[in-house]
Symmetry: C2
Subunit: 332 residues, 2 copies
């Protein structure tokens, strides 16, 4: 994978911040790689980067158009094809995190090939995986897990990695989703792996390492999510984490995308994850709680984190507001 | 999918009965579709059907060569290609349950196309799936779950289906693996689905039905298997079973393929499966235990089943030796 910066972040006609997670992740964690965003009429959200047309971005040196939005199922809607063709004509590679492959659309393949440009489907693993072995690997691993999808597992993982590196520790972020891969340039989109190989692919992602090295593995989904729990369980087993950080978002009325499913409690999430984590690592423990408190004010955020910390006996922070020092202190 | 009988069952140089599960399943449950088996030197197991060469089978009317063996990872070894080409030359379709696709081998595609024959990769879903919804569907569902892989979930499911049909009930076997698909001609090989869609594909497999209709869904893997638990969990959530039957095999020293992992107890398996099943069906209950007792004599088999039944308070049978009447009685 050779993703060329700077990026023009294409966010379509999105109206939901969660749906442009991939574009926002690049904007927040690799701002030096981003040039601007391309929006369509009806779009009500932003990455914070200036809006520009494809021609304008191309004239400013944009090398890749990044399809930075998601929809349920990851379909490549035909309405985007003209935009993608236009970006190819303007000399940009195309980077997509959708399930549907760019390389399955003959018109795109033909034009990209004629112009010598890349169609990069970052969600689609090109490696060949084996089934899991469950064998203990050297080095240490931390996995973020969640009460739900889209509660901040990637941001927490990136914050922990940055915090450890700043403290002079050996730490590597291991991306398991398209946003993380776009931020760090490597990884495996675990929800796009054939289900027989979920644990095996995860084992490959964090191979044997130095005894004092930490792999910080980005979690996916939730063991309590009726659509995606299988992915979460395979990722948990393959990661064989020494440490877990439970991620949670406030004020969510139901599981993401499933209106009739309530969220599990943080305590239930701890118990469920520890039960399964101990299959491949009997020493697994939870070292902290990370809460997305962006929907309440600073005072309430501190109050809630304090309450959760008291209830669970674990450090509890909003990584964006409070940093992750308290969790790292407990961990190390 | 249009699988043409009769079959010539190709079992390669297999030395392990479990590895020719697919061939044996067809032999046991669809004997009317089988003509013979084709073995290579070194093969020490059998389906019970007469050994014959490809030419001999062709002259007796064989319509399909079935690759009826499996290896870890499901690779299509190059050593089989000459045999497959020979069968095509003899006028047979090729049916494979391996992960590797026949249709990815140019030499096979070219010859099959020239001769107007089919290459059928039954493990590879051709349907397009969506992510799970967790919505309650009409009709009733039973799922077989296991302490381990390859403990008899398919045989138990087929026995239960046959038993219900013989009792005049509406029941349909739903295949989730290549063997089951070969036996009944339809289904989804759930371990070959993209991991994001495990639960969603399973929902499609047992759609809304009559209130008094039972779908008997073939389980896969085990929640306690470090390589495959993710598949088992997605299948459990997507099946939303009203009833579970726990399957177990005697005298197994470790989890299949994982020498350092002991088997969970039947009680642990019940508890773990019920915990997760209740996410999508709060009424889920375990209605019986099915034990593969083939490695002990009849008297010991009865003794062990009796002990398990007493310990768990559930009917416990070997479906092949004792039938499934006791479980159906409890269920209905």
């Amino acid at each position: 994978m050779n993703i060329q910066a700077p990026y023009l972040l294409f966010i379509g006609d999105a109206t939901d911040l969660l749906s442009i997670k991939m574009a926002r992740s690049a904007a927040d964690w690799s701002p030096e790689k981003c040039l601007g965003e391309y929006r369509l009429p009806g779009c009500t959200v932003t990455t914070g980067f200036p809006a520009m047309s494809i021609q304008e971005a191309a004239s400013k040196g944009a090398k890749s158009l990044v399809l930075g939005f998601a929809n349920s199922g990851g379909f490549l809607d035909e309405v985007w094809i003209p935009t993608i063709l236009q970006a190819l004509d303007a000399g940009m590679d195309i980077v997509s995190g959708l399930h549907d492959k760019l390389t399955n659309v003959p018109a795109l393949v033909k034009k990209a090939s004629a112009l010598g440009l890349q169609l990069i489907d970052i969600r689609h693993p090109t490696a060949r995986f084996k089934t899991g072995t469950g064998k203990k690997r050297s080095g240490m691993r931390l996995l973020t897990v969640g009460t739900d999808c889209s509660v901040g597992k990637m941001y927490t993982s990136l914050s922990l990695t940055k915090g450890m590196q700043q403290a002079g520790l050996k730490a590597t972020f291991r991306a398991t989703g398209q946003s993380g891969i776009l931020v760090c340039g490597a990884g495996v989109a675990i929800d796009c792996v054939i289900s027989d190989f979920i644990a095996g692919a995860t084992e490959t992602l964090s191979p044997d390492n130095d005894a004092d090295h930490w792999d910080i593995i980005e979690g996916q989904g939730s063991l309590s999510h009726a659509a995606f729990a299988g992915v979460s369980l395979g990722l948990l087993h393959g990661s064989q984490p020494d440490a877990l950080v439970v991620c949670h978002a406030l004020n969510r009325e139901h599981m993401r995308g499933l209106k009739h499913y309530p969220l599990p409690s943080i305590e239930q999430t701890i118990e469920l994850n520890l039960t399964h984590a101990r299959l491949t690592n009997p020493q697994a423990k939870v070292v902290g709680i990370a809460v997305n408190t962006s929907m309440v004010d600073e005072q309430e955020a501190l109050l809630i984190c304090g309450q959760i910390s008291q209830r669970t006996g674990l450090p509890c922070v909003d990584p964006i507001r409070h940093g992750v020092a308290a969790i790292l202190e407990r961990l190390l």
